[in-house]
C-alpha cells in the first residue's frame, strides 16, 4: 500500500506485465484437435461457397442483376444445338419470392404452435406423457423430408385446400389472399404448411430446452406473488426464453429455406412472380434446382449453380440477421 503510494508520488508507474503461461503438451494436443474440428466446418463451408461462385460466375456476369430481378428462364439454342448467349435468359425472381413466401408462412404458423407445445410439455403435461412426447418430437425432427412431402400431398393438401377456401372467402379482399383463377391445389400456402409441420419439432425442441432452464427462484418469486401459471409464464418464462425461441426459429427457417424434396412434392412451380399465397402457383429456388438438374445442359447447370449461390447467401443473411435479433433481445430477460 505505502509502496504503491510512494511510487505513484514519484511518477514511476511500472510497465504492465505480460502474463503468459506455458501450456502443457497434452493441452496443446487437445487444442489442436478441437481447433481443427472447428476449422474443418468453416473450410467446408468456404469450399462450397467457392465452388458455387466459380461455377456460377459466368452466368451471374452475363445476366447481371437480371438474375434476381427477372423471372425468365429460357435456354435458346441455334439450329446446330449451340447455346445462343444473346437470347438465353436466366432469372430466378419468382423462385426467390416463392422461397421467401413459403418460408414466411411456415415460420408464422410454426412459431406459435411450437412455443405453445413447448410450454405445454414443460408446465402442463403429466410427467409420463411429457417423456413420451419429448421423444416423439425429437424423432420427428430427424424425420426424412420426403415423408413429410408425401404426407403433405396425400393427407394435408385436401384439408389445406378447404382452409385456403375459407381464408379466401373471409379475407379475399386482402391482395395476398386473392385467388384468380380459382386454383387452390399446390399453392405456396400448402407448401408453407408442410414446411411448418417439418420445422415445428425443431423449434419445439429448442424452445422446450430453453424454457426448462428458467431459474427456479424466479418462478417461485412469481408464484409467491399470487401468479397463476399462465401469468407466471408470461412474466418469467417467456422473457427468459425469448432469445432461445428466436434461435430455434432461425434453425427452422434455415431448414425451410433450403428444403427441396418436400416442397417439390406439394408445390406447383411456375416461372412467374406470384404474391397470392393461396393460388396454386409458386416458386422455390431449391426445388427448381432439383427440377431442372436432370435435363440441364452445361450452360444451364452453371445457372443452377448461380441459383444455389444466391440461396446460400440468402440463408447466410437470414442467420446473421437472426443473430443480431438474438443479441439485441438477449440480455434483458436473462
Amino acid at each position: 500500500m505505502s509502496h504503491a503510494v510512494l511510487s505513484a508520488a514519484e511518477g514511476a508507474i511500472p510497465a504492465k506485465r505480460e502474463i503468459t503461461t506455458k501450456p502443457r503438451f497434452s493441452d496443446r494436443v487437445f487444442r489442436a484437435v478441437v481447433s481443427s474440428g472447428a476449422l474443418s466446418s468453416l473450410i467446408i463451408l468456404g469450399l462450397i461457397f467457392f465452388f458455387l461462385a466459380f461455377q456460377g460466375y459466368s452466368v451471374l456476369r452475363s445476366q447481371g442483376l437480371h438474375f434476381i430481378t427477372s423471372s425468365n428462364w429460357q435456354v435458346v439454342t441455334d439450329t446446330a444445338g449451340n447455346v445462343d448467349p444473346k437470347h438465353t435468359q436466366f432469372g430466378i425472381a419468382a423462385m426467390l419470392i416463392g422461397t421467401f413466401l413459403c418460408s414466411l408462412i411456415a415460420i408464422i404458423v410454426a412459431i406459435p404452435v411450437s412455443v405453445l407445445a413447448a410450454l405445454f410439455l414443460n408446465f402442463y403435461a403429466p410427467p409420463v406423457f411429457k417423456k413420451i412426447m419429448v421423444a416423439v418430437v425429437d424423432l420427428m425432427a430427424a424425420f426424412p423430408s420426403i415423408l413429410f412431402g408425401l404426407w403433405g400431398f396425400f393427407v394435408l393438401m385436401p384439408s389445406a385446400e378447404y382452409w385456403a377456401k375459407l381464408i379466401h372467402h373471409f379475407f379475399g379482399f386482402i391482395p395476398v389472399f386473392q385467388v384468380d383463377p380459382p386454383i387452390f391445389t399446390r399453392s405456396p400456402f400448402v407448401a408453407g404448411l408442410v414446411l411448418a409441420v417439418m420445422i415445428i419439432p425443431i423449434i419445439t425442441s429448442v424452445s422446450r430446452e430453453v424454457f426448462s432452464q428458467t431459474p427456479l427462484d424466479r418462478i417461485q418469486a412469481a408464484y409467491a406473488l399470487g401468479a397463476t401459471r399462465w401469468s407466471m409464464i408470461r412474466a418469467v418464462v417467456l422473457p427468459y426464453g425469448r432469445s432461445g425461441v428466436v434461435g430455434g426459429a432461425m434453425l427452422g427457417l434455415g431448414r425451410a429455406l433450403g428444403e427441396t424434396v418436400a416442397v417439390y412434392t406439394v408445390l406447383n412451380i411456375v416461372y412467374q412472380v406470384n404474391w397470392h399465397v393461396l393460388l396454386g402457383a409458386g416458386g422455390n429456388v431449391a426445388s427448381m434446382i432439383l427440377l431442372k438438374f436432370g435435363e440441364a445442359g452445361p450452360q444451364e447447370i452453371k445457372a443452377l449453380m448461380a441459383a444455389g449461390l444466391v440461396l446460400f447467401l440468402l440463408t447466410l443473411l437470414v442467420n446473421l440477421g437472426a443473430d443480431l435479433v438474438v443479441r439485441r433481445s438477449g440480455g434483458k430477460g436473462r
Partner: protein, 289 residues
C-alpha cells in the same frame, strides 16, 4: 429483576442476547397492542417422498408481531415456512398434513384459490430474486400484473412500497433502470417492496439476509421493525443476534436425524435469557448447531 437473571446464568452470550431481546420486546409491547392471531399452524407435518421432515408443528403467529424461527440447518425451517403459503406443494413428491389457518380459515381447504392465499401471505426468499427483465418500478408492481389486480394510483403505491422497504431514497431517480443493476442488499429490499405491493397480511422471510453484507442486513432489520406494526412477520434466521434484535417471539426447531420438531416457543427475551430446554440453551449459546 433482569440483573438477577443475568447473574444467575453468568455473563455470556445468553444474557447479552436476552437483554437485547428483552429491551426490544418491552419497548414494543408498550407501543403496539397485539391485534389477535393472524396465522395459526395446527399440527403441521411435512414429507419429501416417504421421508418425514417435519413433525407436529403447532404455532400461533400474532398480528403486529415478528416471530423468528431458529434452529440448525436441515431441521425443517424452510419447509415449515413454505407450508404456510402453500409453496411447499411445488416440490414434486412433497406432502403435508395439518392445518394452516389464516383469520380462522384453513388455507388448504378444498375450493381455496391458492393464488389468493399467496397474495395474503407474501414471501421473501434467501437469495434476492428480482425479475431481471423488468425495471425497478415494474418489479415493485409485478404482483399487480401477475395476480391481475387493479389499483387507482400506481405511482403512489410504488413510492409507498419502496418507502416502506427503505429503498425509495436510493432508487427514486432511477426507477426505470433494470432491477439487476442494484446491489444485493438493494435487490433484497426491492423484493420486499415487491411483496408489499399486493398488500399481504403476513410476510414470510426465509433467511432474507444470509446473502447480504452487514450494512444491508441492518437496513433490512430496520425495515422489518417498521413493517411489523402493520402485519404478521415470520422470519427464518441463522443469526442469533438478528433473532434477538428483530423478533418478539422465537421458535426453536431441532431434528435429531429424524423429522424436525419444535423444541421451544416463547417470547424472544425468554428464549434467549432463560430457555426452559437445555437443547435450546445449548443452541442459543452456540454450544452446538
Amino acid at each position: 429483576m433482569s440483573d438477577e437473571m443475568t447473574t444467575e446464568r453468568g455473563p455470556g452470550l445468553v444474557s447479552s442476547l436476552g437483554d437485547v431481546a428483552r429491551r426490544r420486546f418491552e419497548s414494543k409491547s408498550v407501543t403496539t397492542p397485539v391485534q389477535g392471531v393472524g396465522l395459526e399452524a395446527r399440527g403441521i407435518h411435512a414429507w419429501f417422498g416417504d421421508r418425514m421432515v417435519l413433525e407436529d408443528m403447532s404455532l400461533d403467529f400474532w398480528s403486529g408481531t415478528v416471530t423468528a424461527l431458529i434452529g440448525p440447518s436441515g431441521c425443517g425451517k424452510s419447509t415449515f415456512i413454505r407450508t404456510l403459503n402453500r409453496m411447499h406443494e411445488f416440490i414434486p413428491g412433497a406432502a403435508m398434513a395439518g392445518q394452516v389457518l389464516l383469520n380462522g380459515e384453513d388455507i388448504y381447504s378444498s375450493g381455496t384459490d391458492v393464488t389468493k392465499i399467496r397474495l395474503k401471505i407474501g414471501m421473501v426468499f434467501q437469495k434476492p430474486n428480482p425479475f431481471p427483465s423488468m425495471t425497478i418500478s415494474e418489479n415493485v408492481l409485478a404482483g399487480l400484473k401477475l395476480a391481475q389486480l387493479k389499483v387507482d394510483n400506481k405511482d403512489d403505491l410504488l413510492e409507498e412500497c419502496l418507502e416502506r422497504a427503505g429503498l425509495w431514497n436510493e432508487v427514486k431517480d432511477r426507477l426505470s433502470s433494470y432491477g439487476g443493476s442494484l446491489s444485493g442488499g438493494q435487490q433484497q429490499r426491492l423484493c420486499i417492496a415487491r411483496s408489499l405491493a399486493v398488500r399481504p397480511e403476513v410476510l414470510l422471510m426465509d433467511e432474507p439476509c444470509s446473502a447480504l453484507d452487514p450494512g444491508s442486513t441492518l437496513r433490512i432489520e430496520e425495515t422489518i421493525s417498521h413493517l411489523a406494526a402493520s402485519m404478521t412477520i415470520i422470519i427464518v434466521t441463522h443469526n442469533m443476534q438478528q433473532a434477538a434484535r428483530v423478533s418478539d417471539y422465537t421458535a426453536f426447531l431441532l431434528s435429531d436425524g429424524g423429522p424436525g420438531k419444535m423444541v421451544e416457543f416463547g417470547p424472544t427475551g425468554e428464549i434467549f435469557s432463560r430457555p426452559k430446554d437445555i437443547r435450546t440453551e445449548n443452541y442459543v449459546t452456540g454450544r452446538f448447531g
